[in-house]
């Protein structure tokens, strides 16, 4: 499985993501620079965390208008799997591939922690591997200042009805997000955005290896 790891100026989890993907048997990561115009031949496209464009204007706003986004939209529309992590999630909401917006944490602080999550939908190409252990929360690191997911009541209703809420914070909510949302998908289910970092949860020495199942699910 060929995976593109998009690299924007200011991405800083691109290498982590690259290493995580390459540590999964049958997956191969390749970097794609933001100024490119093609994502042909990739089976999955991954948007890493970081601070693209230094969070100028709004987190993810400028990356969401970068040249590679045209190819990303085409790929997403044709069903290619797209995963945005942290700043990648912010980019996906800013470019409209996912609904809603991510704004300042309710407590104003940048939070760096490991949190428990409920996998709210295991019937996605990203989370099918969690089906057998759906009742057991997974533990992923988080590191963000603007992870407070918000959307209007109608959108939230649709997200709930369509099973688009994929991850919820279980226990305490670190950032004030509506309905404890930590990750959502698009209606078709092939685009997932999430604030927690599965690529930082790949082996036991990282503190948790729960993220590996996500990449293995993606590989299929």
């Amino acid at each position: 499985m060929r995976c593109a790891v998009l690299v924007f100026p200011g991405s800083n989890c691109d290498y982590d993501l690259y290493k995580a993907v390459n540590s999964v048997e049958g997956m191969k990561a390749e970097y794609v620079w933001y100024a490119g115009d093609s994502l042909k031949g990739f089976d999955a496209i991954l948007l890493p965390g970081g601070f693209s464009y230094g969070d100028a204007l709004r987190a993810g706003a400028l990356a969401a208008r970068a040249p590679i986004l045209k190819a990303l939209r085409q790929a997403a529309d044709s069903g290619v799997r797209v995963l945005g992590i942290c700043n990648g999630f912010q980019i996906l909401t800013e470019c409209g591939l996912l609904p809603g917006a991510l704004h300042r944490n309710s407590g104003l602080r940048f939070i760096c922690d490991t949190v428990s999550l409920q996998v709210a939908n295991t019937a996605t190409p990203f989370t099918s591997g969690y089906a057998e252990r759906a009742d057991i929360p997974v533990r992923f690191p988080i590191a963000h200042g603007e992870g407070n997911y918000t959307c209007d009541a109608e959108t939230l209703h649709k997200l709930e009805d369509n099973g688009q809420i994929v991850f919820r914070y279980s226990g305490s909510n670190p950032n004030g997000s509506v309905d404890n949302i930590a990750g959502i998908s698009n209606l078709a289910g092939n685009v997932l955005g999430m604030m927690p970092h599965p690529e930082r949860a790949m082996t036991d020495w990282m503190g948790t290896s729960d993220g590996r199942i996500l990449f293995e699910s993606l590989r299929g």
């Binding site: 204007l57 706003a61 800013e94 917006a101 944490n105 309710s106 104003l108 918000t150």
Partner: protein, 82 residues
Amino acid sequence: MLKGIVTVSLKQDVLDPQGQAVQHSLQTLGFPEAQNVRIGKSIEVWLEESDSVKTEQRLKEMCDALLVNAVIEDYRFEIVEA
């Protein structure tokens, strides 16, 4: 040359924790009448243009294309001589 001054604010129903923190500080400093604080931003755009009607249209397009996230933000702008 004209200048557009775009004022971007969070929508009324979006929580503004920064504004709340500032309001709390104002109260502590002896301004109990400060009942609510909302923080936004001001964006100035200098345009190589003298037609204010055309500028208004272009500024709207800029706001929709990039400057404002309509999911959580509102905006207004004024156009002045630069």
